[in-house]
């Protein structure tokens, strides 16, 4: 059986306003896998996520990223989205004046069109989106509200996963999807994410807490610090981090290097 590689990151470095943040990231993600990135505040996790999604504020200064063998950086942000990259934002953006339903349908049809599939008319789309709402146990009233406007922190996160459910990405990068969610919401969102997993897609979770990984069990855990992956391990690494903190990882890495 050949594994399908979805994402291949080699020695990636990136900076913002001339300040280097990512300093030699490496990571390989195959179809069907769940990866988790953990690491102290400011270690560059969100930067990595946003660089992959094509945020214009970051400048890629070295290395390469292949998405299914294609040069990711040759694609503008929207093409990455159409090719199946999805970023669930740590801080989702409010878009006043655009209703959630109109936005979801526009995004869905744009992405479907680019993938050579049929668009849905408003009625068909409504049936489709109701299913997704049910998956996340979301009140349909959220469809009529402006995108994220006035949503609570947890509601915004759930709305990100609704968008993921609608867009059916090949690679979902979920940046702290657990922050702001109450205990029940965490369980619901996590089971929604699990139901969206297939043998052909992959998930990259950024999180600080083991409790998310209890629900969405990772195949690999990466520890980031200073803009690099210091260590990669199995799901047990997350448990070890939970009890021992991050310090020992950096020390061991330094010890190995010495």
């Amino acid at each position: 059986m050949t594994t399908k590689t979805i994402l291949e990151v080699r020695d990636l470095s990136a900076s913002i306003n001339g300040v280097p943040i990512l300093k030699g990231m490496d990571m390989t993600i195959n179809a069907g896998e769940v990866h988790a990135i953990m690491g102290p505040n400011g270690s560059g996790k969100s930067t990595f996520a946003k660089v992959l999604a094509g945020h214009p504020a970051y400048e890629v200064t070295g290395g390469s990223v292949l998405l299914r063998g294609q040069d990711l950086f040759a694609m503008p942000a929207e093409e990455r989205a159409r090719a199946g990259v999805f970023l669930g934002f740590q801080y989702p953006i409010e878009v006043p004046g655009v209703t959630n339903s109109a936005f979801l349908r526009l995004a869905y049809n744009t992405v479907q069109g680019a993938r050579g599939r049929d668009e849905l008319d408003p009625l068909e789309f409504d049936d489709f989106v109701q299913e997704k709402l049910a998956l996340l146990e979301m009140d349909p009233a959220f469809l009529d509200r402006s995108v994220n406007e006035g949503f609570s922190g947890g509601e915004k996160k759930r709305n990100e996963i609704l968008q993921m459910a609608v867009l059916e990405p090949m690679l979902a990068i979920l940046d702290e999807v657990d922050s702001g969610l109450d205990i029940d919401a965490l369980r619901i969102v996590a089971s929604g994410v699990n139901r969206l997993r297939t043998a052909d897609n992959a998930i990259l979770l950024v999180t600080h807490y083991q409790r998310l990984l209890d629900h969405i069990v990772p195949d690999y855990v990466h520890v980031m610090d200073g803009g690099r992956v210091l260590r990669t391990g199995s799901k047990d690494l997350a448990l070890e981090l939970e009890s021992r903190g991050y310090d020992w990882v950096a020390k061991e890495k330094a010890g190995v290097a010495a």
Binding site: H55, E78, A81, R82, I93, V95, P96, L106, A107
Partner: protein, 440 residues
């Protein structure tokens, strides 16, 4: 701008004044004579006048336009295209002349619609009691000239305690260039009455002309009037409009003023909250590009206690266009417990687009709430990225955000067909803007 040029323009506007039709009643002749005298005493405004600082009318003063001797012909098709299906009753002005034959008979028992000439012939004292009271001649040259040139206009009465079943559409058509039109409208909403009024300015040609329109709206105690004003003149035309409103006790005036057309437009919305508990809700939207200038001046005069006013003015400005918003709020000594807010927000789509926004608050009461704010900006980069990360391309993301900005005002317009029309115009404009931007 030279004095001679501007006075030359005024002379040209007043030329032929002797051709005024003589009316059945002396008071109207006297009013027009007053207005003429006033207009002669005033000069046309220049940018040296504080009220006209940002709006240079010299391109207008270089033209000389004359009133059309009669209404131009309007093809049935052209007229149909302008009609709103929701409207129960329509009043049509053509080149400034009230055109009863193009207007529809009004069967609504809540309404009394009469031309000024019919009102003068009958015994109805409404016209004399109200005309030029809510838009006084004052110091405004254009109101004075409109009044001096007043021929036939329309008076709408909403009978006490009744609510009009359907909106009233007032359509002001321009059919030919080089003409100045003076439409005049009076709306009297009697106690506890209600109506929705749409004033729509449309050109059937692309030439140069001037519309100088005056509307007066009187709301008696407990009345509620929704007033939608859409200025979609030709982009070569000039438009100067004044709406004078008087709001009685517990009455509520709601207005949406949309400016899309005209090379230079100015709209003065002058509101007197003339009794306790009067309320006004004012929305404004200017959507302009090219070298258009759209100027909106609001004046809110809170004279009595417990008044409320809400204002939200938005502009979307592209190319080298220029939007002006001036919002003056007076709160008189006795107007305690006034609750007033004014917001202006502008979106600049091009580096050469310009906005001048000025709040002017004069507050003489101590127990009041007055909030105001003005924001001018570009589209938020984070919002654009968010939309792109969901698959929308740059142009699509920008269009959607621009559309959403303007749609907030459009969606509050209570006529679905008009809101949908305006929505399409906003979409076209935003799409045109991106195609221009992408042009090498």
């Amino acid at each position: 701008m030279s004095e001679t040029l501007s006075n030359g323009h005024l002379d040209s506007l007043l030329r032929g004044q002797s051709r005024l039709p003589s009316s059945a009643r002396g008071w109207l002749d006297a009013l027009r004579a007053d207005a003429l005298e006033q207009a002669n005493a005033l000069s046309v405004p220049t940018t040296r006048d504080e009220e006209w600082r940002y709006t240079d009318l010299s391109p207008l003063y270089q033209k000389s336009f004359l009133p059309a001797p009669s209404a131009g012909t309007v093809a049935a098709q052209a007229l149909d295209a302008c009609l709103l299906p929701e409207a129960g009753c329509r009043l049509v002005f053509v080149d400034g002349h009230y055109a009863p034959r193009l207007s529809s008979a009004c069967a609504d028992p809540a309404l009394g619609v009469t031309s000024f000439s019919d009102a003068l012939a009958g015994q109805d004292p409404t016209l004399q009691a109200n005309l030029a009271r809510h838009a006084p001649l004052g110091a405004d040259t254009f109101v004075a000239v409109n009044t001096a040139w007043l021929q036939d206009g329309v008076q709408v009465r909403v009978h006490a305690g009744r609510t009009a079943a359907a909106p009233i559409q007032v359509l002001c058509l321009s059919t030919r260039p080089d003409v100045v039109a003076y439409p005049r409208l009076l709306v009297v909403a009697e106690a506890d009455s209600g109506c929705t009024l749409v004033e729509d300015y449309v050109a059937l040609h692309g030439g140069e002309y001037l519309t100088n329109a005056v509307t007066e709206v009187a709301l008696a105690d407990g009345a509620r009037v929704r007033h939608v004003r859409v200025q979609r003149e030709s982009t070569s035309g000039f438009h100067i409009g004044t709406c004078g409103v008087r709001i009685g006790r517990g009455a509520h005036y709601l207005s949406s003023a949309v400016a899309l057309g005209a090379r230079i437009s100015r709209f003065n919305l002058n509101i007197v909250q003339a009794a306790e508990g009067a309320e006004s809700t004012l929305d404004g939207l200017a959507l302009i590009g090219g070298r258009q200038l759209a100027d909106m001046h609001s004046l809110l005069d809170h004279r009595y206690a417990h008044g409320r006013s809400r204002q939200l003015f938005k502009s979307v400005v592209d190319d080298e266009a220029h939007a002006v918003f001036n919002g003056k709020i007076f709160v008189h000594h006795g107007a305690q417990r006034t609750d007033s807010s004014q917001q202006s927000r502008s979106l600049l789509l091009s580096p050469r687009a310009r906005v001048d926004s000025k709040p002017q608050l004069e507050i003489f009461a101590d127990d009041v709430k007055c909030a105001h704010g003005a924001a001018v900006g570009q589209l938020e980069a984070e919002q654009v990225f968010y939309l792109k990360s969901r698959g929308l391309d740059e142009a699509g993301a920008r269009n959607l955000l621009t559309f959403a900005f303007a749609a907030e005002i459009v969606h509050r317009i209570p006529l679905p067909s008009l809101a949908a029309q305006l929505e399409r115009i906003v979409l076209q404009q935003t799409q045109k803007q991106t195609s221009d931007r992408n042009r090498p």
